[in-house]
Subunit: 268 residues, 2 copies
Amino acid sequence: MKTRSTPTPDATTTDDAAKPKAAATDRTFAILELVASASGPLAVKTIGATLGLPKPTAHRLVNSLIEKGLLARDLETRDVIIGVEAARLAVGILRASLSRAPVRSVLRAVSAELGETCNVGVLDGGDVVYLDRVEVEHWPLRLQFGVGSRVPMHCTAMGKLFLATLPDAMRSRLLASGPFSAQTAHTLTDPDALAAELQRIAARGYALDDEEYVVGVFCVAVPILSSTGRTVAAIAVQAPKVRLSHDRVEQVLPVLRRGAEALSAQFG
Amino acid sequence: MKTRSTPTPDATTTDDAAKPKAAATDRTFAILELVASASGPLAVKTIGATLGLPKPTAHRLVNSLIEKGLLARDLETRDVIIGVEAARLAVGILRASLSRAPVRSVLRAVSAELGETCNVGVLDGGDVVYLDRVEVEHWPLRLQFGVGSRVPMHCTAMGKLFLATLPDAMRSRLLASGPFSAQTAHTLTDPDALAAELQRIAARGYALDDEEYVVGVFCVAVPILSSTGRTVAAIAVQAPKVRLSHDRVEQVLPVLRRGAEALSAQFG
DNA sequence: TTCAGCGTCTCATTGAGTGAGACGTGACGC
DNA sequence: GCGTCACGTCTCACTCAATGAGACGCTGAA
């Protein structure tokens, strides 16, 4: 019944499923998803061709996304890239998706088993954003690093973990954007020393922060992997060094890894 | 320009804000963002009330988002929570926005050191476009000049900087395209005065905006050079004049220049 | 100059979106 | 049991926003 009087002669291949309806919203989300999953900037022409959109329609929808800030243009090539608003939305989405009851309990369980403060974070715009956090006591750091706060990449366990698992090109670009501020006497500020540390991290699959960001605080982070094996987030435990240090790392790793595995479903 | 010839008889009271527009896509994104930024599950009623949507419309849009998997229902309460597809989309977005991260982190470092709002912009079609921005507080200007917004050339620090470094032919062409609107009492509207200012800027290598665009706002911009020495972008700091004015220029310049140098590698 | 490939603009067409109102339902309170 | 209230669902006529073919313009290559 939905068969339009479309003058498509061939009934073999494109008999239907093509035109019955065209919802602007659906196509808009399809564009956003396409740009988000693309490996680089996309030409509008490519977007239109991929999604089967007429030329003016593709431009109209892309421009409306650009107006909202969800997409942007590469000003050299006029290609389409993801926008800053999209990143903001994405952080909100991941935060909200972690606050769902079944997931919440994962972090709680990990924290309870370790007896220390744990958190989940992702990489956004060159630093680490905490998506969720479970605390075990009220220590001074509490307010500074709550959910939504941002910490640097080069001197935190999560940050170094993300750096270590990034594609080579992106890692070098980020390392080139330093200098890195010395937060404590232990902070790795030398690019070469940092690069060596990142190699160690990539090799063993977890990262440590030994008073590199806050004096007296030790931290262990392991990756949360997507179904494709990519590091999309991380889970970490942090505690005063008197209670958590190198000698306990082997002990906390399995607990963190179990939590990471349980959470990975949340991130696709 | 959006003023339709709506046959609304009374033009006095309900001149706007009533019906003129209702875009399904906009409202859909607004719902998604609302759910993503909410602290917990939301009732559809709440969503509708918050966004000012009629009851059936709110349900229709929410349900269409649920069909896409971007939202989901809390099985106990029927409330709306974020969906698994949204999380997948979010991960893709953050990954795609990684290419902005190097610029971001430089900008953040500069902004942190200066304690003021900083942004990076380029010239596009006779306007300055903000590529990225890091804010230090929430002041009224925030929404007006976000990322992607365009500001005039003749009355902003970045714009004058670009004008000053343009090839002579193009500069005269743009100057001839005046007259220039007087945004404030300080705006340079006279082409000759503007030309003189541009010469000063070219000579000393940075530009100032002393309440020329917004009353009470002072701004300093330095160029970001490509490997060939061409000005391809600019980095600027802007602040209320009570906190930033001529006496602090010499103080902020080295910080901006260091940031510009770090960024030039990213634009080269 | 010609040509080709893209982006932009116009505009008649139409169907997707809209929202007031009616109706169904389930949870209380007494 | 039976109002009452609050939400969700359904209906449907209206209409405005989205649509997309086609024409046009720009830019860069041959």
